[in-house]
Amino acid sequence: MVLLVTSDNEQFQTEKDIVERSVLIKNMLEDVGESDQPIPLPNVSSSVLKKVTQPSTGPTEIDVRGRYLSTASTTVESPSRPPILEQSQDETRKRTTDISEWDQKFITVDQEMLFEIILAANYLDIKSLLCRRWLQDGSQHDQGARPPEEIRKLFNIVNDFTPEEEAQIKKENEWAEDR
């Protein structure tokens, strides 16, 4: 077990394999070796740390267009669809993916908390939380970046640029390559 101390001076006894998801904490543990000394986390509050250190449980499902489902293995249509999806040619297609119950609870936080969680994830260097892999795929693309068309495909986003904007984008890319 590892003892963590948050910015509001709360102490957390947490399993080592959980806290080691954080590269920052993992490196600190490697530096200090076996020790009962508490690890201070001055940039993370107790409420945020609870969210990023709780272990996960079983799988359920979400509608990836934006709404969680209350039960596993069920897919429902999102009740409020964003404008960008209204333009989708495949309006009836539903996509599902597994997500744990804990993750579900995790996500049902308000946006202010989500903001804090992302900042904490950045500080703690929890790479999987930083969304980096969602826009990057180093094995397939130069510089580790997914091209915009793949991001659109991944998230079912419609390319709504005008021809003039497309021409501008083309010029941007020409400059970026010559830079």
Binding site: N122, L129, K171, R179
Partner: protein, 333 residues
């Protein structure tokens, strides 16, 4: 297509990427703009930031609007190629660079100018960058084979209000008739300057607020130029690297004491006799001294009068008898 196919599949229940996935998904549909902008920012790295920011700004109009409206996405160190294979490419580069820098406003940016191939510098690109002169935090010139004197003079005409670091590279001699007639140093308006790097191959002299510098790398052909600079005072220098490439001796009128009250690290590379420099130098806080000397000047008297430098802990006498001495190397000719 299930998005989960892109994730590591073994430990699904403990895979934090699912959370990232949801955040990303939710960001498209309804997260606050600030939150989505933060996610964009966290996906960027200094090495790939141009591709990174283009990637998110070229997905759809919504993402483009958010990216263009978030200045901090556009302030990573930017390398600008001043060479262009054609006027059309150069003109496009100027337009794109101007737009890029405009998106970073009002924040400061760091720019390094390079020239991928020797040849004509596209002035339109240079001017596009200088349009943001008051917001330039750092400027580095890496043109081939040297930095033209006109480029330094053009830079000096700008109000570089935020400039803290200036690297002029290897500045060529100014052979124009005007330069021959005008011996005055080129003044820079750099009220925030802290770091200056310059290798002066010619006669062009510049004037900056020397007393506020904390780091100086200066190479030139003569001891006179060095003392001309140093006698203006650099009391806050912490790190200095000074090289004199020529063999001319110090003129009597330049023999003035130079006091570095805060200097900790000093590197000297002299082809000429080091004695005049050391005779006039005091640096009570100096902890690291590195010398690169011509063999002919090894046993100079001022060295013998000095204490062994801390950078050579094995020294018991000075000049050092340790081989190899970490504080001294010989000039390779």
């Amino acid at each position: 297509m299930a998005v989960s196919t892109d994730l590591e599949g073994t430990e699904r229940t403990k895979n934090w990427s699912d959370i990232a996935q949801f955040i990303q998904e939710a960001g498209i549909y309804g997260l606050a703009v600030e939150l989505l902008a933060l996610i964009f920012e966290l996906t960027m790295t200094d090495e790939t930031h141009v591709a990174d920011v283009h990637r998110v700004s070229q997905v759809c109009t919504q993402w483009r609007r958010i990216a263009h409206g978030t200045p901090r996405l556009w302030i990573r160190p930017l390398r600008v190629n001043l060479y262009s294979a054609s006027n059309a490419k150069g003109d496009n580069a100027a337009v794109c660079l101007r737009a890029w820098l405009a998106r970073s406003a009002p924040l400061c940016v760091r720019v390094s100018f390079k020239q991928a191939l020797p040849g004509t510098i596209h002035r339109g690109v240079m001017e596009a960058a200088l349009a943001a002169a008051p917001r330039l935090r750092a400027v580095q010139l890496q043109t081939m084979p040297t930095t033209p004197a006109w480029l330094v003079k053009r830079l000096a005409q700008c109000a570089l209000d935020s400039l803290e670091e200036l690297d002029l590279g290897m500045v060529a001699a100014d052979l124009t008739a005007e330069a021959e007639a005008d011996a005055e140093p080129t003044p820079f308006a750099v009220p925030a300057l802290r770091t200056l790097h310059m290798i002066n191959l010619g006669t062009l002299q510049i004037s900056v607020p020397w007393p506020q510098l904390t780091e100086l790398t200066f190479e030139c052909d003569s001891l006179d130029i060095i003392f001309e600079v140093l006698r203006q005072g650099a009391p806050h220098l912490v790190t200095a690297s000074i090289a004199v490439l020529g063999e001319s001796e110090l003129s009597p009128e330049h023999c003035v004491p130079v006091h570095f009250g805060h200097l900790r690290t000093l590197s000297l590379r002299f082809r000429a006799d080091l004695s005049p420099f050391l005779d006039h130098l005091t640096a009570p806080l100096l902890t690291t001294l590195r010398l690169t000397l011509h063999l002919a000047h090894w046993d100079c008297e001022p060295l013998a009068a000095c204490s062994p430098p801390a950078s050579c802990p094995g020294c018991t006498t000075w000049p050092c008898t340790t081989e190899p001495c970490p504080a001294v190397t010989f000039w390779q000719t």
